[in-house]
Symmetry: C2
Subunit: 333 residues, 2 copies
């Protein structure tokens, strides 16, 4: 007995037909299109012997009751960014629907454990600039004070937008009770990089979420006239930053599995006739091994200081963000 | 018989006293402070047996008539940028005043050649964003169509501002007749770099004006997620630009006497979580030897293409400006 993958692809196309335009998926959370997508999803699920409800945070839960209360949760999100891809999020949900059908069929409506499908509300955070609304409310990680004052570009607050879909902002963490019997969580996702494609593999199991170190690095040199300042008298902030742009590739390579990215570079005064006085770059470092991540950061700091010294410029670091890595359960993997 | 340098320094201080504030010189062209500085200058000059007039472009000419009509012109500018240095421009003018005094004294008012002092109008271009107004009008190089539409930050046009100081914009090039008997031009200027200071020399003779090649270089890579894109799959536009930031030092060194400056670096999308898709840098190259300048440019283009190839990114060049080098007269030097 296998899942009917063709049916899922056909349903994904069906969803695309009424929630996308020529620029991509338009299922931004809490919009009419998103509501319509959910209604469509519910109709698909109602064909099964399941219980369906929306929790206090707007997450949609579908439960196929089993012998045991302990539940396998399959998650996804039917919301999209504006102009989203046709598989991001909704593939997870519709594959989950198919898995429910398959388990229901095999166990004739009574599997050994409970199986639940959750469609997280506003995973993307496209409208209010903060992702993972529904899941962070449910897991208890949502910062209420931060979220309460979020506004969209029209000035509408998150609490007001939630009211429109019958969610009371002050009660969203009540959704946490949904996790009471949670035993395992699985989520299918399209790959957001090129690795499986390169290796010609159809699927991979994620080992965990990267630990992240995110910093802004500012090199401080001196503005000087591009015509009258000899090369050996310059304190060129861009020169040091330019060296970093190459060095991070060596740091990542040595780390065996880590990645480093300089995503932004700004220069002051930033005019064609002046040596760069100040250069600010951002550095994003990720690794699945906490010690390796710490080493990557330490190496980046050390070379930034060496490059600063070589160019007689100053350097300062400022942490933007830090995420602890999470290794996934080996049995589930 | 020598010039009285102490008198010049004392006059520079006198000028500073009534045209500067705690931030520096405030003699922006066509302002009341500038007009006051010129009135003060004229009074100094009127003590000599000279003819003084303002030409059609607002340049102030002071003529010590000699046996020959052929004229040595000594130039400078009493206007300053906002918060200007206390010597830039006005040193030239006041040293010229002292030279006139000295020649007048030696030749008892009748030197073998005519000696003229010119105070160029709006050398700095601080208000309308275009420098060398008076001298380019006089030399015939002013682009009338461009200049006619220049506006200051309050929306006042250059022609309207000129009217306030009795200059008719449409006639500014009539000032060209001032150059009729010009035989030589000399200008004293403070050094705008650190070389003489380094060499502990009081004075240098300028050999010419640098030829300048000014370009924008755009590297075109591909945006990619900082977490999910392996290092060896990236097409990082900043990596190539970073290599350029170092290579220009080697290019300048090989050129023996040239300078190269990357003054600005901008990145797109320029966010912490994405590999840089597009990186635009400006390159300013200067040399006193036309062939060496052309070689510097050719070398920069060649390495930019090599770096682009190494990083699988594209590169395009766009010329921003080009100035022909001018070697000064060896006898005058």
């Amino acid at each position: 007995m296998t899942v009917n993958a063709k049916r899922t692809v056909s349903e994904l196309k069906e969803l695309r037909n009424f929630t996308s335009d020529e620029n991509g998926a338009q299922r931004v959370a809490f919009t009419r299109t998103w509501v319509a997508a959910r209604e469509w999803l519910k109709k698909k699920l109602e064909a099964l012997p399941v219980e369906i409800h929306t929790d206090a945070a707007g997450n949609l839960w579908t439960t196929l009751q089993g012998e045991s209360e302990r539940a396998l949760i399959i998650g996804g999100h039917i919301d999209s960014v504006p102009n989203g891809g046709w598989l991001d999020g909704c593939l997870n949900v519709l594959a989950g629907v198919e898995v429910l059908r398959r388990i229901n069929e095999q166990y004739k409506g009574n599997p050994p454990i409970t199986v639940r499908l959750v469609d997280w509300a506003d995973e993307e955070g496209a409208r209010f600039g903060k992702s993972l609304f529904g899941s962070s409310a449910c897991s208890g990680n949502l910062n209420m004070d931060e979220a309460r004052v979020l506004k969209d570009k029209d000035g509408i607050s998150l609490p007001d937008a939630l009211k429109q879909v019958d969610v009371d902002f002050e009660r969203v963490k009540d959704s946490g009770k949904e996790l009471k019997n949670a035993a395992a969580y699985l989520e299918l996702h399209i790959e957001q990089g090129p690795v499986l494609l390169d290796l010609d593999l159809p699927l991979g199991a994620v080992l965990g979420t990267f630990g992240v170190e995110r910093h802004a690095i500012t090199f401080q040199g001196q503005a000087a006239h591009s015509g009258s300042t000899p090369m050996n008298r310059r304190r060129d902030a861009l020169l040091a930053a330019g060296k970093m742009s190459q060095e991070i590739y060596r740091i990542a390579e040595r780390s065996k599995g880590g990645v480093c990215t300089i995503g932004s570079c700004t220069t002051k005064p930033g005019i064609v006739t002046s040596v760069v006085a100040e250069c600010r770059i951002t550095l994003d470092q990720r690794h699945l091994d906490a010690r390796a991540l710490a080493k990557m950061l330490q190496e980046a700091k050390a070379v930034s200081e060496r490059f600063a010294q070589e160019g007689t410029v100053g350097v300062s670091w400022e942490r933007i963000w830090q995420i602890e890595l999470v290794l996934f359960n080996p049995q589930l993997i």
